[in-house]
């Protein structure tokens, strides 16, 4: 028998009303409580059934092709190895500096000076800093090419992310009212990420980069906690 308090928690969980910490705690409980899991699933199904108060409508026939183009676009625009070399080099340089602790402004400027002397001059490197304690051990570097409007994010030592949430990268462009999404960051092997990104639409400048925790699927503007910021 599920007591009333647990029922209310399950309802708030389904409606997305729990705080991230409370949701995480509830998910742990769900994992070990089959009755509660079943109850929560039934609530979710009931809530989703509200969709059936609408009629099915026909989207334009070309929409599916548009979606296919979008989901395949990273494949099509995949960088050839030769063009990726400078990116990898810059990312390695930035990561090495972080590892060695040379992330202060002076050293960064030295690297920038070096970079300006060669073909990497147009690359901007940002080390992102944790905004919350739980992310203080995370190594986070963005390499950005303003001219080509594309970048590379590398994250290491990420703490676990509760289910139902994604990391999302943002570009703060002073010319925009709201941060511009650069996409959901796919996590590899649990605690790292290597993410080639493009902004949702071209930016005039990338003054800052930020990573936030958003509900699964991400948001069009940041809604969740900002965990990393760099400029």
């Amino acid at each position: 028998m599920i007591d009333e308090t647990k029922q209310e928690m399950a309802i708030d969980y389904v409606l997305g009303e729990l705080s991230p910490m409370a949701a995480e705690s509830f998910e742990r409980e769900l994992a070990g409580n089959e009755e509660l899991r079943s109850f929560t699933k039934e609530l979710r199904e009931g809530f989703a059934s509200m969709a059936l108060t609408t009629e099915s409508l026909r989207p334009r026939s070309e929409l599916f092709q548009r979606i296919l183009t979008e989901v395949n676009s990273p494949k099509k625009s995949k960088l050839v190895w030769a063009s990726f070399v400078p990116w990898a080099l810059a990312a390695c340089l930035a990561a090495a500096l972080l590892i060695l602790g040379f992330d202060d402004l002076h050293k960064k400027n030295e690297v920038a000076a070096l970079l300006q002397r060669d073909a990497l001059a147009q690359l901007q490197i940002s080390a992102l800093r944790a905004q919350v304690q739980a992310y203080s051990n995370v190594s986070a570097v963005v390499v950005w090419n303003q001219q080509h409007q594309k970048g590379l994010l590398r994250l290491e030592a990420l703490p676990g992310l509760q289910s139902g949430h994604d990391y999302q990268l943002w570009i703060i462009d002073p010319a925009e009212k709201t941060p511009v999404s650069a996409g959901i960051v796919p996590i590899e092997s649990g605690n790292s990420a290597r993410f080639e990104f493009r902004p949702e639409h071209p930016v005039t400048s990338a003054a800052k980069f930020a990573v936030s925790i958003e509900k699964s699927g991400g948001s069009t503007v940041p809604q969740g906690q900002i965990i990393l910021v760099g400029q």
């Binding site: 609530l43 979710r44 409508l57 709201t178 069009t220």
Partner: protein
């Protein structure tokens, strides 16, 4: 329908097929993606259109939703939700994000596109539509049993981007009352579906 096990939207065989499609999509199967789209796009588009009240924006929501489904199909967990509920909640979240962005940037100017003033056509041809039609009738019948104030709070909670506080303000009722209405309505819906499966 008696004796046939159902999720809230479809029968067991249809659900098994949807799960198989998601498993194939997770492996990059475009044909499975197309089949999943054909089955669910009309109801998802209906939800998106009701929320956005704009055909072009509803299509954008659908595009974002299906792009997400493509990327995340392999993470679908049937212990957590049916394929229908999973897809519905993805599209609903995408629509809410857009509604909130629309508010934030105060983008009141409508897009000047060929969609202006267009209401999409009904779609009765998807393979899932027979199940959905039957279930739709059950949901509507079930909602008649839910007191109007609970139904109204549930509808606002599902289809709008309003927080519970905003729903309370809009309906001129205390927050605690609104939360209680939504909870009671949701428990009632769950009870109705338990009886019918």
């Amino acid at each position: 329908m008696i004796g046939r096990k159902m999720t809230p939207a479809m029968d067991e065989a249809a659900e098994r097929y949807n799960i198989e499609l998601l498993q194939r999509i997770g492996k990059g199967d475009e044909a499975a993606f197309a089949a999943f789209y054909d089955r669910l796009a009309p109801i998802l588009y209906g939800v998106a259109f009701r929320m956005m009240n704009d055909a072009a924006e509803a299509e954008d929501v659908l595009q974002e939703g299906f792009s997400y489904i493509w990327r995340q199909a392999s993470t679908y967990d049937q212990n957590q939700s049916s394929t229908f509920a999973w897809a519905i909640m993805i599209v609903r979240n995408k629509a809410i994000d857009r509604l909130r962005m629309r508010q934030r940037v105060e983008r009141l100017q409508q897009r000047m596109t060929s969609f202006e003033g267009v209401t999409p056509e009904r779609d009765d041809e998807s393979a899932l539509e027979p199940f959905l039609r039957e279930r739709r009738a059950q949901v509507r019948a079930a909602l008649i049993e839910v007191p109007p104030e609970q139904r109204q709070a549930l509808e606002l909670s599902f289809f709008s981007d309003l927080t519970h506080e905003q729903i309370a303000a809009q309906l001129g009722a205390p927050l605690g009352t609104i939360k209680a209405r939504i909870r009671r309505g949701l428990l009632r819906l769950r009870q109705i579906f338990q009886q019918s499966t």
